[in-house]
C-alpha cells in the first residue's frame, strides 16, 4: 500500500491523474486554486499527458471541458462558490448533453457578503441541474469518491456528470494521510473512456443539443430522470466493486450508531466526522445518539434514509446552507419528504455558514435539544444553531429593519 500526505485538493488532482484526464480546463478561485495549479504543473512536467487550457472564466472552463469530452476524452475542471454560479448555465448544458464529466467542487459560500470560506450554498444552488453529487467527510473520501465517480458517471445506464463536493479549507487545505492506489488497478477499475450516446466525430457525424420542441423536451428530461434513478443501483454496485479491489468501504448513506439511537443527526461533508466524534463522546455518558451521513446527495437517497430512520421518534438535520425563504434548508426539506407520513419529529438546523466552524459544542447542543424533544419536552429548537445573540446589531448597514 502506498500512502501520501495530501490535502483535499491534492487528492482530487491525484484522482484526475489516475483517471488519465486528457484535457484540463481550469480557472483559479479560492479555495480551489491549488487544483488548477497542480494540474498545470503535472502537465508541464510531463507527468500528466494532457492538454492544459488556461481559460479566462469558469463559464469557459466548463464550456471547454464539456466540449473537449464530447470529442472522446476525459476532461477535467474544478471550481468553487461564485465560479460554480458563473458556470451554472453550462453545468445544466453538460448534464443535458449527457457528458459524464467529473468535477470537484470545493465548497465555499456564495456572495453576498463576500466570504472565502466553506458552506454548501454553492453546490446546493445547482443540486437539481442533473449532476450526481457526492459529499466528502475526509481527504481519503475525496480520492475514493472521485475515482468511483468516473465509473458511475460513465456507466451506460447513467451518463450523467458528477460533482464531488469537498468542504473549502476544512478538507481542501487539510493535510491527511491518504492511501493512493496503483495506476494499473485504477485503469482496470474505470477503464478507457469510451464516449456513448453523444460525441463529436467527423467519421460519424451527429448534431448535439439543437432546439427541441415541446413534443420531445419532456421525454429528454425524463431520460435524465431515469438515469438518476438508475444511478442508485449503479452507485451501490460500484461501491461494492471498489471495496473488493481497493479494500475501502463506501455507501450511499452511512448509519453511525443509529440503530438504538434516541436521537439521530443527519449531516453531510466534513462536519459529519465531528458529529460522529460527538456521538462517541455522548455514548460514553450513556446518551443514545447517532449520525446519518449523506454521502450521495444526488440522486437523493430517500429510500435508504426512510429505511434507516423509519423507527425513530426524533431526527435532526444539519444544513450548511441557509435555504432563504424556504421552510428550512434543502437537506431538511428533502429528509422531510423522504420521511413523509411517518410519526417523526424532524428538526432542521442551519449553521456553519461562510466558514463558521461546526465544533463539538454546536453538535452537542443539537443532540441535547433532540434528546429533550425525545423525552417529551415541548421546545422550540434553535433553528439557526450558531447565530450570535447580537445578530441584528452587526454591521447595521446590512440590518433588516
Amino acid at each position: 500500500m502506498t500512502y501520501k500526505m495530501l490535502d483535499g485538493n491534492g487528492a482530487a488532482v491525484e484522482a484526475m491523474k489516475l483517471a488519465r484526464v486528457k484535457v484540463v480546463s481550469a480557472y483559479p478561485i479560492t479555495p480551489q486554486s491549488s487544483i488548477a495549479e497542480k494540474l498545470s504543473e503535472l502537465v508541464a512536467k510531463g507527468e500528466l499527458d494532457a492538454e492544459y487550457i488556461r481559460v479566462e472564466s469558469e463559464h469557459t472552463a466548463m464550456s471547454a471541458a464539456a466540449a473537449a469530452q464530447l470529442t472522446g476524452v476525459r476532461a477535467a475542471t474544478a471550481t468553487s462558490s461564485v465560479g460554480l454560479a458563473l458556470m451554472s448555465e453550462v453545468v445544466g448544458l453538460a448534464a443535458g448533453c449527457r457528458v459524464p464529466i467529473v468535477m470537484p467542487v470545493v465548497n465555499r459560500a456564495l456572495v453576498a457578503p463576500w466570504s472565502l470560506w466553506c458552506d454548501h450554498s454553492d453546490a446546493m444552488s445547482v443540486r437539481d441541474s442533473g449532476w450526481l453529487q457526492f459529499y466528502c467527510q475526509n481527504v481519503q473520501d475525496v480520492l475514493d469518491l472521485m475515482i468511483m465517480a468516473y465509473k458511475i458517471a460513465e456507466h451506460e445506464k447513467v451518463l450523467l456528470p458528477a460533482m464531488v463536493c469537498l468542504d473549502g479549507f476544512f478538507l481542501s487545505h487539510s493535510m491527511q494521510k491518504v492511501e493512493v492506489y496503483d495506476q494499473k488497478l485504477v485503469d482496470q477499475f474505470i477503464g478507457e473512456y469510451i464516449p456513448k450516446n453523444t460525441y463529436l466525430n467527423t467519421e460519424d457525424p451527429m448534431f448535439i443539443c439543437d432546439l427541441t420542441p415541446p413534443e420531445d423536451f419532456t421525454e429528454l428530461k425524463y431520460q435524465q430522470k431515469v438515469a438518476m434513478d438508475n444511478a442508485v443501483d449503479v452507485i451501490a454496485e460500484v461501491q461494492d466493486e471498489f471495496y473488493r479491489i481497493f479494500g475501502r468501504k463506501s455507501s450511499i448513506i452511512e448509519e453511525y450508531m443509529t440503530e438504538d439511537a434516541d436521537a439521530v443527526l443527519v449531516a453531510l461533508g466534513s462536519m459529519s466526522g465531528t458529529a460522529k466524534h460527538v456521538a462517541n463522546e455522548m455514548r460514553k455518558r450513556g446518551l443514545r445518539v447517532g449520525v446519518l451521513k449523506i454521502v450521495v446527495y444526488r440522486p437523493f437517497p430517500f429510500k435508504q434514509i426512510r429505511e434507516a430512520l423509519k423507527a425513530k421518534k426524533v431526527v435532526g438535520v444539519f444544513d450548511r446552507s441557509a435555504g432563504l425563504g424556504a421552510q428550512g434548508g434543502p437537506v431538511w426539506t428533502e429528509v422531510c419528504a423522504a420521511l413523509r407520513g411517518l410519526d417523526i419529529d424532524i428538526r432542521g438546523y442551519v449553521g456553519g455558514l461562510g466558514g463558521r466552524d461546526v465544533p463539538e459544542t454546536t453538535i452537542e447542543k443539537i443532540f441535547n435539544e433532540l434528546l429533550d424533544i425525545y423525552k417529551g419536552k415541548r421546545i422550540l429548537h434553535t433553528n439557526w444553531i450558531d447565530v450570535k445573540d447580537n445578530a441584528m446589531e452587526i454591521r447595521e448597514v446590512l440590518k433588516v429593519v
Binding site: 486528457k22 484535457v23 480546463s25 494532457a50 492538454e51 487550457i53 488556461r54 481559460v55 479566462e56 472564466s57 463559464h59 469557459t60 464550456s63 471547454a64 471541458a65 464539456a66 466540449a67 473537449a68 469530452q69 464530447l70 470529442t71 472522446g72 476524452v73 476532461a75 448555465e89 453550462v90 448544458l93 448533453c97 450516446n197 453523444t198 463529436l200 466525430n201 467527423t202 460519424d204 457525424p205 451527429m206 448534431f207 448535439i208 443539443c209 439543437d210 432546439l211 427541441t212 420542441p213 413534443e215 420531445d216 429528454l220
Partner: protein
C-alpha cells in the same frame, strides 16, 4: 442527438427555414463548402441555429453542437484541444456566431480563445442586431439604425471587431461580404490554412431586420462596401490590407434610404453620417499605410 440520414448536395441540406433573402444562408453554405467535411462546427442560439436543426432534424452533414450564446469560442477551444489530445491535427474547428453572440455576450470567450492562440476559425456573420430574438440592438448595430431597442436610432457607433482581433495580434483576421463571394471564399481558405486563430467578420444584410426588399440583399451588401460603410480588409501577420480600395466612396444616402431601419434619419443626420463614414475610411487607409 440524432443521426443524420438525409441526402443533400454539399454539407447543408436543401430547404432550410431562413427568411427569404437571408444573407446568412449563402454565407453558411459557402463557408462549409470551402472547409469541407472534416470540420466540426459550434453554433450558438441565434439565426445560425436554424442550421443546427429542430427536433430530430439537422441541416448540416458535419458533426456539431449548439452550445451557449456566450461560449462559442470556448467550446471551439475545448473541441480543438480534445482532438489534439487524440493526435488529430487535421480536423477544422469552426465557430459560427452572429454579432450579438460575438461582440456582446461572447466577446470574453472570443478574447480568451484568441489570446491563447487556439487554432480555431471563428466566423461572425453580422446582421447588425439580434435578429433571431426580434431585431434588438447589439453593439454591432451601426450609428443611427433603428431597432426594437434603439427605436429612435442607435446613438453610438459600432464596435470594431477586426480591430479587436488585431489587438490580440492573431495571425489572420478579415472582413468579408456576401456580395463578394469569391473574396469571401478566398478568405475562408486562408483561415483554414492559418496556424492559429482566425477571425472572419462577414457582413450579412437582413431584409427582415433592415426592412428592405428581400430581392435586394446582394445589392445592399455591395452598396455597403461601395459607400465605405463596410470595409473589406485583412489583418495578416501584423499587416493591414484593404481589399478593393475605393478611389471615391459613393454617397451613403442611397444605401441608407434603401433600408427602413434608417427611416428616422433626417437629411442633416445623413450628412453627419457621411462625414463619419468618410473619416472612418480615411483613418483606415492611414492605418493600412502604417504597415
Amino acid at each position: 442527438m440524432y443521426k443524420i440520414n438525409a441526402e443533400s448536395k454539399g454539407l447543408v441540406s436543401h430547404g432550410v427555414s431562413a427568411c427569404a433573402g437571408c444573407a446568412l444562408e449563402l454565407i453558411f453554405r459557402n463557408v462549409l463548402d470551402v472547409l469541407g467535411e472534416d470540420t466540426i462546427i459550434v453554433i450558438p442560439p441565434g439565426c445560425s441555429a436554424l442550421f443546427s436543426g429542430y427536433g430530430k432534424e439537422t441541416a448540416v452533414k458535419i458533426p456539431g453542437a449548439q452550445m451557449t450564446l456566450e461560449a462559442t469560442a470556448a467550446c471551439c477551444t475545448g473541441i480543438k484541444r480534445g482532438l489534439l489530445a487524440q493526435g488529430n491535427t487535421h480536423t477544422t474547428v469552426l465557430g459560427f456566431a452572429g454579432d450579438g453572440g460575438t461582440v456582446d455576450i461572447g466577446l470574453q470567450s472570443l478574447s480568451g480563445m484568441m489570446e491563447r492562440m487556439e487554432k480555431v476559425i471563428y466566423v461572425c456573420y453580422d446582421n447588425e442586431a439580434y435578429m433571431n430574438t426580434g431585431i434588438q440592438g447589439s453593439s454591432s448595430t451601426p450609428l443611427g439604425a433603428s431597432t426594437t431597442t434603439t427605436p429612435a436610432g442607435k446613438p453610438t457607433k459600432r464596435k470594431d471587431l477586426v480591430g479587436i482581433a488585431a489587438a490580440h495580434d492573431i495571425p489572420y483576421a478579415a472582413t468579408a461580404s456576401v456580395a463578394y463571394l469569391t473574396d469571401l471564399r478566398k478568405k475562408v481558405k486562408k483561415a483554414k490554412e492559418t496556424d492559429g486563430p482566425s477571425l472572419l467578420h462577414i457582413h450579412a444584410p437582413c431584409p427582415t431586420g433592415w426592412r428592405y426588399d428581400p430581392a435586394k440583399t446582394i445589392e445592399i451588401a455591395r452598396a455597403a462596401v461601395e459607400t465605405g460603410c463596410w470595409i473589406l480588409c485583412e489583418f495578416e501577420n501584423g499587416k493591414w490590407v484593404i481589399n478593393k480600395p475605393l478611389k471615391e466612396l459613393k454617397p451613403v444616402g442611397a444605401y441608407l434610404k434603401a433600408q427602413g431601419r434608417f427611416n428616422n434619419l433626417k437629411e442633416h443626420d445623413i450628412a453627419q453620417l457621411q462625414i463619419q463614414v468618410r473619416d472612418h475610411y480615411a483613418r483606415f487607409i492611414e492605418k493600412a499605410k502604417l504597415n
